[in-house]
């Protein structure tokens, strides 16, 4: 719990309470530093293991900020590997489909062919080359590892830290959450004219909920007992950070929401069991808990609810352009009632995210005016403040 007069920020003297500069959201030079010093050196989530269940199942993830296309594929041995999706012959992008299942991968240009484990196994007219040693021309591997079913890649040729080391405290806090029991996923993508951190910031504070989501989520995180949406817990770690959100038990659901609650699980339903939950889920063990949001630096948010998980991946394209990828992970529906509850949650969340969406480009427009050189942040925006500190640590390293 907060100790300094219930102001979380005061627990972290290194973060201060002063203004935060807006230059990182506007400067092309800063963006280039982020590209070179952050995104090419950190573990980035690219998907879930359930997406590639069979040997040969693959997906391709183009990471524009790193000028990289990554092929993630499950081998005959069940192991998930990542490769630069580039043919070793004339550097052509190897796999053009976004997903699929293949026993081997052939380049569409001259037909060089690679196995699921990256070995070069076929070269048309091989005898016309000069001393070609196929063993030297397998696909170039990308460091790839899996944590709790989330697949991460790291574009450092030999990452200085393992994924587990990089995640630090988060491993102990969240390992064991039943992510694997949520095999159904909805995904929405938006290509936005804003800096990537505008999106990250919009999803790492609850201050905006009372105003921006006053129509879609009235009283979701607030009531008379907690009028300012004070979080149950806020923690910042070396790079990552979390908020545990208060849930309002007094809220009267709308008629359709009440149906959704009666028919199955739903995002706003406040019933939960803490049995077998790891310590990072509802860490204060409050009976008025809504969900916890973990922000994994630089661009991956994991929101754990009871029986449901939301993730956000934010993909920088340019200093003023980024893709927001929102996902909802849910249990498989067993009957029509649960399909209805799930659909209610999907529509309600999507519409709430459309409310968020409008602020993102509006914020970048305001920033681009050049008239705002710093942000003034309140206590509940501590995670935004922490993000700036971590960014600075990386770009100045």
């Amino acid at each position: 719990m907060a100790t300094n007069g219930d102001r979380w920020t005061l627990n972290y003297s290194e973060l201060g309470t002063g203004p935060v500069p807006t230059r990182p959201y506007l400067s092309k030079e800063y963006f280039e530093l982020e590209r070179e010093k952050i995104f090419k050196h950190t573990w980035l989530n690219v998907g879930r293991v359930e997406e590639i269940p069979e040997p040969g199942s693959y997906f391709v993830r183009d990471i524009a900020v790193c000028n990289a296309s990554i092929l993630v594929v499950r081998g005959k041995d069940g192991k998930i590997r990542g490769f630069h999706n580039v043919c070793r012959h004339r550097a052509t992008k190897l796999v053009w489909h976004e997903q699929g299942c293949e026993s081997k991968f052939s380049c569409n240009y001259h037909g060089w062919t690679y196995a699921q484990d990256g070995r070069l196994i076929g070269v048309p007219e091989e005898d016309m080359f000069f001393d070609l040693d196929k063993r030297q021309y397998g696909l170039l591997p990308v460091a790839t590892d899996v944590w709790e079913g989330f697949i991460f890649i790291n574009l450092e040729p030999a990452p200085k830290e393992s994924l587990k080391e990089y995640l630090g405290e988060l491993d102990e806090l969240l390992a064991g959450y039943p992510f694997g029991e949520l095999p159904v996923c909805f995904r929405f993508d938006a290509d936005l004219k804003c800096n990537w951190k505008v999106i990250v910031d919009s999803q790492q504070e609850g201050y905006h909920a009372k105003m921006l989501h006053r129509r879609s989520l009235p009283g979701f995180l607030t009531n008379r007992e907690n009028p300012s949406r004070h979080a149950l817990d806020i923690q910042v770690y070396k790079r990552h950070r979390m908020i545990s959100y208060f849930g309002n038990l007094e809220r009267t659901p709308t008629p359709t929401e009440a149906l959704a609650h009666r028919f199955g699980a739903s995002v706003t339903k406040r019933e939960f069991s803490m049995e077998n939950m790891p310590p990072g889920v509802n860490p204060t063990r409050s009976n008025k808990w809504a969900f916890d949001e973990y922000v994994i630096f630089p661009n991956f948010h994991v929101l754990v609810f009871f029986g449901m998980c939301i993730t956000h991946n934010v993909w920088p394209i340019d200093v003023d352009r980024a893709v927001w990828e929102a996902r909802v992970y849910l249990p498989r529906a067993e009957n029509a009632a649960q399909v209805f509850s799930r659909e209610y949650g999907r529509c309600m969340l999507r519409d709430a995210w459309l409310e968020d969406g409008s602020t993102l480009e509006a914020s970048q427009l305001g920033l681009a005016s050049g008239m705002i050189d710093h942000f003034v942040l309140q206590d509940q925006e501590l995670l935004v403040r922490h993000n700036y500190k971590v960014l600075e640590d990386y770009v100045n390293a």
């Binding site: 995904r187 993508d189 929401e257 399909v339 659909e343």
Partner: protein, 125 residues
């Protein structure tokens, strides 16, 4: 991109006992979130309210009927009723939150695009 496409075929019906909803099914029994959302955004608030009022009072009967059937092998008529019921979830925010078809001051829905996640997208629409 979502690849699910529904065609409301002429002559299709709803299960016995739900004939009164047929006039709504012809418009709102759509297989994907995107189609239902487009239908919401191209409807008037009075059309949306009419659907909402008609479905809300029948949902217990609809779900009681559909819950007896296997999700992965539902007869065509029942599936049509399921898709119709999902349109209630789609229009609920318009009626209960926004009092208009679109999200008030919202980002354009056609720029917030559903993307199929391989092997994880639900079979039921």
């Amino acid at each position: 991109m979502s690849t699910q496409v529904s065609q409301t075929k002429a002559g299709q019906t709803l299960p016995a006992g739900f004939e009164d909803l047929e006039r709504f099914a012809a418009v709102w029994s759509l297989a994907s979130e995107r189609e239902r959302n487009r239908q919401r955004l191209s409807s008037s608030m009075s059309e949306i309210q009419e659907l909402y009022d008609a479905l809300l009072t029948r949902m217990d009967q609809i779900i009681e009927y559909l819950n007896q059937l296997p999700l992965d092998n539902m007869p065509e008529e029942a599936r049509r009723l399921l898709y119709l019921s999902l349109s209630l979830a789609e229009v609920a925010p318009a009626v209960e939150f926004y009092k208009q078809p679109e999200v008030v001051d919202g980002f354009p829905a056609d720029r917030f695009l559903p993307v199929e996640v391989p092997n994880m997208s639900p079979a039921e629409g």
